[in-house]
Symmetry: C2
Subunit: 396 residues, 2 copies
């Protein structure tokens, strides 16, 4: 008899399920096939690096959700999910990367067996973990089902965090503070970026008595381009040394039980150029304006509008990309929650308990600059999760 290790109480999972069922009912969905790894974990606790083969959580009107995945991963489900063993279903390994058969045939059979073959079935159409072929196979295997697009349905139920979730995010915040402190300690001209990456991972993972936790892997690895390469937001690291006279931004997340606290800072080695000092002053002023707008009663877009106005007024920059997104529980490839983006047009009202990465990064022709914060919407001013000095770091 294996007892699962759960990071939330069963009552919290029950509330999540109830919320999801209410959303299903509102959307006219009888059976929901959840393939997004983060949504699967949020609903059931399931944890494991198994999302490279098909897997799903199936939620119907009553009873426990059903976890379904590769046969060998049932052992992982048994150790991480709150449901009874009879609701953990494995498919045979002959379906894995086969040219003759597809695992979704098995899922279709399981759904039909439970009498849901003619149901209105919701699927997350726009998610990495439901390939075009997976959906086609599901349709083929369930010819009488009526499929509905349920992209984001569970994600939206996750938008307002419980206190237990915020506790994990605050632990993640302590971790990301430690990561940035470590960078500031060791970065210097000549230090190879792969060695700096090793230091960052060390600070991200090691157990810390003061925090009372060690860290988990992030949904995105550290992004840390230097100099002109910082024009590119999603480069990682290489073997080359840090150079004097260059800025490097570090976009990182601390992670605790899959809950993320992303936070970026920029470090300049040497005397910062006018451009970097201007960027610092502008982003800090813009961020203050955005934070002031991050209050219940306002809409998500109000944060963006406030920030973008400062950016344009002070530096004439019209940032086309969004200035943030909702965050929480995540698996690779993205630590965003994929619901709200902080940008003009996102008219969702801000509510206490919502969490965002306020992503005020600038990526220009031959430089880049990031000072960001992860925030919790509160009655009153927003809470910045981490406490990392909000400034351009300079080592001269």
């Amino acid at each position: 008899m294996v007892e699962p290790v759960l990071h939330f109480g069963r009552d919290e999972y029950a509330r999540r399920l109830a919320r999801t069922r209410a959303a299903m009912e509102a959307a006219g969905i009888e059976v929901l096939v959840v393939t997004d790894a983060s949504n699967m974990a949020w609903l059931t606790g399931y944890d494991g690096w198994s999302f490279y083969t098909p897997q799903a959580v199936v939620v119907a009107g009553g009873g426990e959700p059903v976890w379904w995945g590769r046969g060998m991963d049932v052992a992982g489900a048994l150790r991480t999910c709150w449901m009874a063993e009879e609701n953990l279903l494995g498919f045979a390994d002959r379906y894995v990367h086969s040219r003759e058969r597809h695992a979704m045939e098995d899922l279709a059979d399981r759904i039909a067996e439970r009498g849901w073959g003619r149901a209105r079935i919701g699927v997350e159409m726009d998610n990495w973990w439901l390939s075009a072929a997976s959906f086609a196979e599901l349709q083929r295997g369930l010819p009488e089902a009526r499929f509905r697009d349920a992209t984001g349905l569970v994600n939206w139920q996750r938008a307002v965090k419980s206190e237990a979730e915020l506790a994990h995010m605050r632990t993640a915040a302590r971790i990301v503070e430690r990561m940035h402190a470590r960078i500031l300690e060791v970065a210097e001209p000549g230090l190879r970026k792969c060695d700096l990456a090793a230091e960052i991972w060390g600070a991200a993972l090691r157990y810390d008595e003061a925090i009372g936790a060690g860290g988990d892997y992030p949904a995105i690895v550290p992004m840390m381009p230097s100099g002109a390469d910082a024009a590119a937001p999603h480069l990682t690291w290489d073997d080359r040394p840090l150079k004097a006279g260059e800025g490097t931004f570090f976009e990182l997340a601390g992670v605790s039980h899959r809950y993320h606290c992303p936070l970026a800072r920029t470090l300049f080695l040497g005397k910062p150029t006018r451009t970097f000092l201007d960027a610092e002053a502008t982003v800090l002023e813009g961020m203050e304006a955005g934070l002031a707008a991050a209050v219940p009663g306002n809409r998500v877009e109000d944060i963006a509008t406030a920030f973008l106005a400062v950016l344009e007024r002070r530096m004439g920059i019209r940032k086309e990309s969004r200035t943030g997104y909702s965050i929480g529980l995540s698996y690779p490839p993205d630590w965003g929650e994929r619901t709200m983006s902080i940008r003009p047009g996102e008219r969702t009202p801000l509510e206490p308990g919502m969490t965002f990465h306020f992503m005020t990064g600038l990526w220009m022709a031959d430089w880049g600059f990031e000072i960001t914060e992860s925030i919790v919407i509160r009655e009153g001013p927003a809470e910045c999760l981490a406490n990392v000095p909000r400034k351009l770091f300079v080592k001269d």
Copy 2:
């Protein structure tokens, strides 16, 4: 003017493209939309953690391939792809995680603009990076195109590695040797697994003068379950300490320029049980049998058959899961190449230059055991990429 950093010569990219075009022609495909991040990198050099938004490489009958992705990632493509800037196309940020529009509308427009709107278009139907919604949007945007499933088309061209690719894999092998050596050095009862994970990441990334390289991030993070949890193959780590009297397997990969050398070993703290000693003897004998079969003239399945026979004869175990898969260049979520699986029925002939992770792991009801090798098929006996003592590690 930005000069890209390429990890292969332009002649090698030209050969890859020619091979891909020949396969397209054989499959009756005029335009290939490559969304698999590993295939994109293999064809163009593109590197960046940007696969969480839609992106693609489009290959037609002539000219350079076209890289297409999020506008802000053009700067990364400019720094990592061999093609001219005019062939790097970005879509507007308003498409990112939008509820009103989909980035694939933009790709469809770009394809139509180039006169390929009525072509036979190959798409990788069964890949994480082509969601069901992405494909539906592409069909909607190109109503006159005739779509063909091209899953695995590029992957199969990657099966036989060039000497330049093998050089990167040998560097990765040096790195994974260092990772396992570090585990053996520091693991002891009481050491928290998150701290051991930090040590593993350090050994994976730090620059080593003897190797002449630092490491890159793996497509799968270290999997390292202990005791009864090792029944589950895909658990990662937590804060709990290693315990005396328990076995832990470490399934890891060294990585150089995205080329992987996966390798697993098992460590027992204390006096190993009969079960572990039997598993050791069995897996080592089975592996020898498998390696002896890993020669040109044989088929992929012959490796599995040889290994499985020993497993059944010595321990009565009928392993249902595959015993390995092709490897090479990879991005998360999988370091497998997703072509050949080492299992009965995989009748592809072995060819010199093919590379596999010979994955002889056992996951039983309440224990798990992994001793694996990554191999290169050669004229003559297979080459084991890494040189890590092939045995059960014991610290008593």
